[in-house]
Amino acid sequence: MIENGTKNKKALHIEDLSKNFGGLNILDQLSMSVTPGERRAIIGPNGAGKTTLFNVISGELKACKGSISLFGEEVIDMPNHQRARRGLARSYQKNNLFLNLSVLDNLALVLQRKHNHEGNWFKHRSPKAFPLLYKEAESFLESWNLAKKSHVKVAELSYGEQREIEILLGVAADPKILLLDEPTAGMSVAETQHMLRFLENFPVDMTMLIIEHDMEIVFGLADRITVLYYGKVLAEGTPEEIRADSRVREVYLGSEVSEKYA
Amino acid sequence: MNESLSILAMQVLNGLAYGMLLFLLAAGLSLIFGNMDILNLAHGSFYMLGAYIALSVAQYLDNFWLALILAPLLVGLISLVLELGLLRISYNRGHLTQVLLTFGLAYVFNDLVRWIWGAAIHTLTPPASISGSLEIMGQTFPRYRVFVVLLGFVIAFLLWFFQEKTRWGAIIRAGVSDKEMVGGLGINIHLVFTLIFALGGVLAGLSGVAAGPILGLYPGMDFETLIFALIVVVVGGLGSFTATFGGAIIIGLADTLGKVWFPEASLFLIFAIMAVVLLVKPQGLFGGRAA
């Protein structure tokens, strides 16, 4: 599977990736790579193809052309569950949860896979039978201040709490690479701050790609930033470089955002 | 050689006639399912009601043509009332609830028809101008079937025109692909649904009347035809009258010709066709959209 040295070192390597819907190029021969442990923010105006990029990386959409490799392994033809099994996890822009299940059961679906219990069809899934799984679930819920809600149906939680679980389901898988699609979308300022603290505390060796509109998070969190514009990479660099890039300011930061952060 | 060719031509014509009946029946079902996402298992009941109402109209007014017009309209009215009174509540309850509701309705209608018209077998008699037979290429062909084929083409054209060339048609087309958009255009989506459902009823009723002289009227005709209509919808694909038309002709021909060529397998054949279509092209042979 080793193809070449540089590719092998990358957590994510994308080359010449294209995706079109009905003749419209959403991703246009896009190439980028992310090194292990890196925090990479993906920004760009609406319609730049950010979420589509995530969907193609995770395998929920099939690329028309190009290559994607995870830690040196080509995954372009793999269905999404196989990519997940190679250490890819994600969260969604719109909450995408098991609404009628309890918080604990939501989390357990992630953890039982991580612990390789997902083929067990004869043992009652209980703390007694799967102590490690439940201990881990407990500590997750504890640290996310959700312990009291563990038996509550997700549908009955507040939006902010649901949003936290959305992220938790991604990170609980202990992924090597995590894609976060606007983790703070729709959150209040306080909730955003709360979320930011979680994000900062994620394991350092976890590679993270984050789509975000909140520039405070982007500039506070990211090691590097990729700016997408109509399916192409417009610019890539450290936060400082991006802040200084005139093209970026023109297409993206040019409006109200630039006034605040420039 | 010439003879066997003309026989084949006639079988094809038979298949077309049957396909037209299926088209009228399935067009409404496909429209309702494609637009409203409602699997209407009472659709066969509309077909049956059309036939029986036509029987009464034809008896009292002694006029087949009036029955052909009045009965479908009455069925449309019944389906309108049903949509407003009952179906509306099931819109957001998922398919299972709709299955239960419409299956319950089908049971009630089945019994109601038997109550009102009895369990005896009836048939509709077409007027002399379209009964009897024609001689084409030395083969005898029943005139009424030719009429059904023509009727099918006319209705298909009208529906196509309605869908492609009128504002309401455009709304319905939009509804198939994107419900939210229709709502966003400031159109009362409920009104659209009601009208679609009523139109589906009218078409099923028309199909019942048209089928009366060929297939007869009997208890149980509702459930029998329902399955055929579902198959046509699947094989043709959702989304447009053209797709349903294609599906209906394929199934009409396959069923008719299959019964000649492989009579033992005829129970098997159309389901096998449906299975193959579902596996190879799930959105239907002529459909644009996956449900």
Partner: protein, 416 residues
Amino acid sequence: MMIKLKSFKIGKILLVIAILGLIILPLVGCGNGGSTNSSSGDNKSGSNATVGSTEPFKVGLIIPKSNVYATLGENLSNGMTMYFDEIGWKAGGREIQLLQEDEENDAQAALRKAKKLVESDKSDVLVGVVNSSIALAIRDYVDQNKVPFLVAHAGAVGLTRAKKSDYVYRISFTNEQVNFPNGKWTYENLGKKVFVIAPDYAAGKEQINGFKKGFTSAGGTIVGEAWPPLGTNDYGSYLQQITKAKPDAVYAFFAGTDAVRFVQQYSEFGLKKKIPLNGSGWLNAEDVRPAQGGAVEGVKGSLYWQLALDTPENKNFVENYKKKFGKEPSGEAVEGYDAARVIAEGLETLKGDSSDKLKVAQAWGDIKFVSPRGPIEFDKENHMIIQNIYLAETQKIDGKLQNKIIATFKNVKDPI
């Protein structure tokens, strides 16, 4: 995980028990209580009918009362009611009760009903059944549980051949019996080459088989066969096969909607003018002729009874039936009428003693009388009725389409 276990809360379980109780209680009730839908007054509960008992004699009738075959069931039931009315619902000193259940065109439901009639309602005998597969299912049950069963319509040959039982008698017909004599007649009167067509299911095969036995042993040749599926919409393609085979005549078995469609299309496709259509009598029976319209004119069919049968017994029967029910009787009405008579006369010969079920059944076997359909008796060998078969042609008489009897085959046995 504790949350799972809590789904079995005590309150819920008690509720489930309560619901189960509500479901079961009425069952227990009807198990001990005897019939709940008896037709007349004196209804003491008690389970074992003693010798020379004054207990009502209960006749359990299983017929289709819903869906496709409801009319057949209704006519059968009418026939039985009519006979019992005539004798004042009494025979052998016992009151007769008729308990009716819906066959539902579903063997399982029908078997359930049979069990209910026997086990819960304590029926002394079972009668009826239109569908052959249902009759075969009930046959095993009555054979095991020793309940006399008088088959009043179903025609599967096996019931009185391979699967004959000491407890099963048949007052109706077999699928072969009604066609067998017509075979020879067809050979002699219509031609040596015949095309046969019938629906592709057991009864269809048996009907045609009966014809073939008579026809080929007389010297005829079958020049073609077609087996359209049951409920075929469009016979056009089969009719073309027939045209191509150029037979002297067509012999068909179709009933109900199939008969309407086939006969109509036979005429529509212009075959009626060229090739005579003969068949079993359901092809032009009373129940399908109104729907068939003019297409049925000239069609011939053989059956165990015809409305036009000119005997005092039949005229009397038809007249009384019309008076009572306001419509003309059908073959099923005659079956019901005769079945009721067999049951009543059987009880009469036993002087009301129905304690020995085998004797009840055997008593049927000795009964002989002249029915509206002519003289009938049972074949001792297989418990199958021996009867006349009438060949009738539909003709326009006084501007009205009617069946005219053109040949009578006397005392026909089941052609084993």
